[in-house]
Structure formats: structure tokens, C-alpha cells
């Protein structure tokens, strides 16, 4: 656990800083209003089964999978629709029973067209045969890893990196700790929070399975301190396991970014461009841990997930258990529809989520929330000012970059120079653009520069 008492921080503390004194944390970061109370009180409820699901064959980082069903074919719930193509890939499964009615290109949340399989629900909810393993803890690490892979589990915090790949580190990179990311540092989102409250023991089981697969003795669960009840619940659930520690973390965005979380909990810094495994760590999100448990125990593939539907623009913000492939418009209806003057619908959180161009987009394994923002809340403006060199972005960049320089260089088209200022270490967390008084679109400029030069 690391306390950050920097020589270079202000001698006069902010309210948030006083409140957080002594908690594990990292250097930099921001305190956006968290707005979690909108949906925090709503327990996870089942969504009405959708009439149609659109299941993209690429919901993860890595190669899209190959379709193994054809149009007109009857499929059951949990049946494989696409087989992984390559090592860094993940299968996808049917989230309803019914008939395949189309295979073709559909837009995803990023606005890209991806090959997807469309199933019409017959509402019979017939499962394909699943392999139950009541004493899953006696299985070998290899068998467990195979189950995780077959279930199509990917990182559910948003990045959607295939979990089985993270669980197969090369021999020269020994792993000694598994971290469960319960920070949920994005404002508004409460999906992981609800899981920690309602499924605490399953999440802890998931962590134990992950530790077994990797053969490690140290497990940590890091939770931001604005969720004290989740901290208490998880502590209770982990009480029997001596090698699992539950830690309260400072409430600060982006506490849940992998590198920051590792720094906060273990004090290790992942070098630039390296991976957590390079410092002996594997990080998994709370939802992923639950999916791992369900895959090991019941053989259940990843066909549903918790999605927080929230924001000032939706009538009843809720946490929903949603089938993969459900359209966003169905979720909005489920939550009572829009309020007046909706300006923006975001897949994910307000800091790193993607603004949707339409509501036909399907929920995927990485969709943690749908955020609806009315006009008043959206800070969308084409107008921005020059950099006044105020240093705010430099002070808060968790990666220790100079966002001001990156934005100025990108604006002038000096992309090569931007690379010299560590352009590719920026993970686009958006903290700099949040604090900038000139409202400079720093993330947009960084992306532009990244697309113009090679790393």
C-alpha cells in the first residue's frame, strides 16, 4: 500500500484530499462529481428478454471469431456462434434461444461496422447442455483455464481483453499477485458496486479460481472509498481466506486504470509500454471475476452482464442484468424512456465512454453502462481556446505526461515531436481534458497524432 505525500503537491488540501488521507493511491488524477447516487440504490434486476439480439463476432481485443452457424439455423441459449480465430481471440455464444435470421455488418458502439449474428428470440429459454462442476476447486489449473476460455470471458470493465490470454503468461514472467478491480472510478457507473453488494461471495470465489489458475498466493480486491458498504461486504466475504486482502482506495479518477491500481495496491510501477504481467500482476474486473466463477462452477458462457443505465436523461436509472446483443433502445425503454432534451447517449462512463450515433447499437461483453445526458450536463462545445500553460493538466496526468505539449504539437501537425513527448504512453483517460480551463480537446488531438505516426 502506497501513500502519496509529494513534495510538489499543494500545502493547502482540498476537501476530497482530507477525506481520503491515508488511503492507498497513485500520483495525479482528478475528482469529477461521481453522480453514483442516481443508480446506486437500484438492485440488479432482470431485463425483459429481447425480441432480437445482435451479437457481434468481435466484442474483444484481438481477432474476430469465425461464425459456425448459418442463417435459418435454430440455436439454443449458450450455444457457440463463433469460434475463436487465433490465440488472442474469444468465442461468442447465443444469449437467447431461437433462429438465426441474419449474419452481416452492424455498427458497434465505436461506430465501426462489425460482422454480427442476429437471432430472433423464440422465448423458450432452452439452454444448450452445460457442464456442471460442483467441486470446481479440485480441477487442475489447465482445466479451469480451458473453462474460462470456452466461456468466452473477456475483461468486462470496458477493455474487453480475452481473459484466458491474461491467464496464460509466458514462463519467463512469473505472476505473484491477482488484483480484482472494484474501483469503478468512472462517474455514474454502479454495475460493479451492485455486484460487490449482491454477489460478494461469488466474486471472492472467482478470485480464488483466478489465483489457482495462476498459482499465486496473493489476492487483492481494491475498492474506492466512496463505496464503504461494498468494502464491508467484500471484507466479510473474504474473511475466511487469509491470502485475500480487501483494500479501500482513495476516491480519485482514474483509480481503476490497471497501472494506477497496481501502483496504489502494490506500489509497483508498470514501465511504459509494458504490461501488468511484467511486474508479476494480473488485474481482473469484478464482473469478470463473477463470470469466471460461473464458468468454472456451472460451465456458463458469458451471455449476460450487468449494465448501469443511468444519467439525468433517463427516467428511472437502474442496474440491469442484460443479455449480450440487446439493443440500447430496449434498455432505454426498460428504464422508462428519455426525459426531455436528451443530447448524448454514451456507451461506458463519461470519462472514457463512446458517444453513440444511434440507439440500434447492441450491448457487448465490455458494455459497463449506458449513460444518457441531457443538454444541460453535456459539455460539448466546438469552441476551445489556446493553451494558457496553466500546468493543471501536467499536475494531474496519471502517466506523468505533458498533455499541454501533446495538444499544442498535434494541433500544429507536429506529430513526430508529439511522439518525443511520449504520445504513446497516453491511455486517453481524459483527465487532462476534464481540468483544462481552455476546454481543449486534448484526447481528440492525441488520437489524431497517434493515427498519424507509428509508435
Amino acid at each position: 500500500m502506497v501513500l502519496h505525500i509529494g513534495l510538489f503537491r499543494s500545502p493547502i488540501l482540498l476537501k476530497e484530499e482530507l477525506f481520503n488521507m491515508g488511503l492507498a493511491t497513485f500520483k495525479g488524477g482528478i475528482h469529477p462529481p461521481d453522480k453514483k447516487t442516481l443508480s446506486a440504490g437500484s438492485s440488479i434486476s432482470e431485463t425483459k428478454p429481447p425480441k432480437i439480439v445482435v451479437i457481434p463476432l468481435s466484442q474483444h481485443i484481438g481477432a474476430p471469431c469465425n461464425p459456425v452457424v448459418s442463417i435459418g439455423q435454430e440455436v439454443r441459449k449458450g450455444q457457440v456462434l463463433g469460434e475463436p480465430a487465433g490465440f488472442v481471440s474469444s468465442p461468442v455464444h447465443a444469449s437467447v434461444s431461437g433462429k438465426v435470421v441474419a449474419i452481416g455488418e452492424f455498427p458497434n458502439a465505436m461506430g465501426r461496422m462489425v460482422n454480427s449474428i442476429v437471432i430472433e428470440n423464440d422465448f423458450r429459454e432452452e439452454w444448450t447442455a452445460l457442464k456442471d462442476s460442483p467441486d470446481y476447486m479440485s480441477l487442475s489449473p489447465e482445466e479451469l483455464r480451458e473453462k474460462v476460455k470456452a466461456a468466452g470471458i473477456v475483461g468486462m470493465g470496458g477493455a474487453a481483453f480475452p481473459t484466458s490470454v491474461k491467464l496464460s503468461p509466458p514462463k519467463e514472467k512469473p505472476i505473484d499477485a491477482v488484483l480484482i478491480n472494484g474501483a469503478e472510478c468512472e462517474p455514474y457507473l454502479t454495475a460493479d458496486y451492485r455486484l460487490m453488494i449482491e454477489k460478494s461471495s461469488e466474486v471472492v470465489e472467482g478470485l480464488r479460481i483466478l489465483m489457482k489458475i495462476l498459482g499465486v498466493q496473493k489476492g487483492y480486491i481494491g475498492i474506492e472509498n466512496n463505496k464503504p458498504d461494498a468494502v464491508a461486504k467484500m471484507k466479510e466475504a473474504a474473511a475466511g481466506s487469509e491470502n485475500i486482502k480487501v483494500l479501500a482506495l482513495e476516491v480519485k479518477y482514474p483509480q481503476g486504470a490497471e497501472k494506477m491500481l497496481i501502483k496504489s495496491i502494490l506500489g509497483r510501477e508498470v514501465p511504459p509500454r509494458a504490461l501488468p504481467m511484467d511486474v508479476g500482476v494480473v488485474v481482473q474486473n469484478v464482473g469478470t471475476a463473477l463470470a469466471v466463477y460461473e464458468a468454472a462452477r456451472y460451465g456458463k458462457p458469458l451471455i449476460e452482464r450487468v449494465v448501469t443505465v443511468t444519467g439525468e436523461g433517463v427516467r428511472q436509472p437502474r442496474n440491469l442484468m442484460v443479455r449480450i446483443g440487446t439493443k440500447v433502445s430496449d434498455l432505454i425503454d426498460e428504464c422508462g424512456g428519455f426525459t426531455e432534451g436528451v443530447a448524448k447517449v454514451i456507451s461506458g462512463g463519461p470519462m472514457m465512454g463512446f458517444a453513440l450515433g444511434g440507439l440500434d447499437v447492441a450491448v457487448t461483453k465490455g458494455t459497463s453502462g449506458i449513460l444518457v445526458m441531457p443538454e444541460e450536463v453535456v459539455s460539448h462545445t466546438e469552441e476551445f481556446g489556446p493553451c494558457i500553460r496553466c500546468s493543471r493538466c501536467i499536475d494531474i496526468c496519471p502517466m506523468g505526461l505533458m498533455p499541454s505539449m501533446l495538444s499544442v504539437l498535434a494541433e500544429r501537425g507536429h506529430y513526430e515531436d508529439a511522439r518525443e513527448y511520449n504520445l504513446f504512453d497516453c491511455f486517453e483517460c481524459g483527465s487532462c481534458a476534464f481540468v483544462c480551463p481552455s476546454k481543449r480537446p486534448i484526447v481528440q488531438l492525441v488520437r489524431l497524432a497517434k493515427s498519424m505516426v507509428k509508435p
Binding site: 510538489f8 499543494s10 500545502p11 493547502i12 469529477p32 461506430g111 497501472k259 501502483k263 510501477e269 514501465p271 511504459p272 432505454i332 425503454d333 424512456g337 428519455f338 436528451v342 443530447a343 448524448k344 454514451i346 463519461p350 470519462m351 465512454g353 458517444a355 453513440l356 450515433g357 440507439l359 449513460l371 450536463v377 453535456v378 459539455s379 460539448h380 481556446g385 489556446p386 493553451c387 494558457i388 500553460r389 496553466c390 500546468s391 501536467i394 496526468c397 502517466m399 506523468g400 505526461l401 505533458m402 499541454s404 513527448y421 511520449n422 504512453d425 486517453e428 481524459g430 481534458a433 476534464f434 481540468v435 483544462c436 480551463p437 481552455s438 476546454k439 480537446p441 484526447v443 481528440q444
Partner: protein, 347 residues
Amino acid sequence: MEALKKEHQLIVSVSPHVKSEETTSRIMWTVSLALLPAFLAGVYFFGPKALLITAVCIVSCMVFENLYMKIVGKKPVAGDGSAFLTGLLLGMNMPASLWSFSPFTAHVPVIASFVAVVITKQLFGGLGFNVFNPALIGRAFALISWPKAMTIWNEPTAALLAMDAKTTATPLGILKEEGVAKLLEVFGDKMSLYQHLLTGNRAGSIGETSAIALLIGGLFLLAKRYISWHIPVSFLATASVIAWVFGGKGALFTGDPVVHLLSGGMMLGAWFMATDYVTSPSMRKGQIVFGIGCGFLTMLIRLKGGFPEGVMFAILIMNCFAPLIDRGFQAKVFGAVKQDKAKEATK
């Protein structure tokens, strides 16, 4: 469904989708507010002339900025408060006596404003791109062009309506020409001297005299995090140490740092001029180097140079070095040092 009809109206833009309340203009107006106590103290001690001169500076700066923007076809942004702030700072850096100096010299603030806003700022590319502090260049230009008018000081009267006042020397002027003994003679004793310097009841530029008011404004900005401690603290600390060691007559370690800290433009410079975002380094470590440089040069000019006061030139000289200092103190990328160490270890 009604929701679907609205689809085409959805805004698609790059994250983040929330932003802080802070804006450039709010910063400018807050800094102006922080200057208010010192400015009011100036008006109190030097009378309505102080108010008039500052008003001329503010109005000229805003008019020139808008005119320039109109002429080059950019959107006028005088509402962002930066021209107002430049005008306010420029006015606070002028002697109140300027108004009554004959021949009448009201054109001085106007021309200085032009130099500050148009030449120093806009011709360098506008807000964010200027190398030198605009208000300081404006003042330096006036000082060089009208050396006499810019160095005649009124005695503070604290009589709100007095338009005429006796002229006198500034404490730093007395210190330079006649030494500390004379300074004590003029102000009575040491305590009385400190008291006058602290409240601002002494000759000097309109806004620089009240050390206590400037300190209040500076601490306010510090608490609001509009400035950080690095520049003012390193600036003032360096100046104090040099004043203490070399400021005395003859022997080392006999100088009086308090007199140096509280007189001249030290407080105004350290809290409000050297901390200008655009013309100081943006890395915190670099800001310490910048502050040390300012403190050193100020004292060098005060003790060895031809002028009694050196704050203005010290800051302007350091402005030139700000980009260089920034280059020398590039940020440490998260995880980078450890990698270097690891590399060395594997060698």
C-alpha cells in the same frame, strides 16, 4: 418510438463527456479579484489619480485588444478577462504622480497599454504564445521612454481627494542613495519602517506598496490553486537570503531581508507577475529554478546595478529562459525511472 425519432439529434464527440467548471476567463477574473485589495490600498494612499491611471490602462488594453481582433478578423475575446488583467497590472505598476507630472502625461499609460497588448501579446500570437509578461513590457517601455515621469513618486497622503501631493523618494531609492541609516531616520525607527512597508504607506507604484494586501491576494490564489507555491516561495526565499548575506554595509550577514521583501515591487512581482502562466515554466521543478533566478537577478540589480529596483527586469530576463527551463525539466513518465534502473541492473 419517440426516442428513436430523436436519434439524429444525438451529439457524437470524443471523450471525456464531462468537464470541470474552470474556464480561462474565470481564472483571469479571479486573479483580478485577488489584486483588488492591493489596488484599493493604492487608491487609498495615492488618491483618485491612482484610480484614474489604472482605469486608463484597463480601458486602453481592452480597446486595443478588441480593435486588433477586429482588424485581423478574429473573434474578439476581451470578455475572457485577460486584457482587463493586463490593464490592471499595468496600472498598478505605474506611479500615481504620472497624472500630475507636467507636461501632462496621460498618453503614457495609453501607449504602454498598446505596447503590452498589441506588441507583446498579439503580435507574438495572442494569449498563450507571448514570451514576455505584457504588463511588464508595457511598464519597461514607459520607463525607458519617459524615465523622468516614471520615476517621480508622490508621498502617500491617505487623503482621498488630494490631487496634489509632495514628491519623495521610494524606500528602495533612499536605501540605494543614502543607506539604511537615512531610511530609519525618515520612518522613525525599525518597527515604524516595517509597519509603513507592510500597510503600504510609502512611496511607490500604485499597486505595489501594500505588502499585506498583496500577501492576502497571493494566499487567496494559492488556496484556490490558481497559483502554486513554487515560484513565489523560491523567489522570495532566494531574495531574502541574498539580502541577508550581502545586503549589509561592509560585513556579510548583516543585511535586512525584511526591508527588501516588503519594498519595491517584490510582493507584487513574486505573487502576481512571475506567476503568470504563459510566461513562466509549466513544470513545477522548473518553476523553482525560475523563482530562484528571479530572486537572484532582482537582488543583483538592487545591490549592484544602476537602478534601485530590479524586480521588473529580473522577471523579464527569466521570461526568456522559461521555455529552456521547461525543456530541462520534462516530466517523468509513469514507470520510466524504474525501467532505466532495471535496464542498468540487467547490464
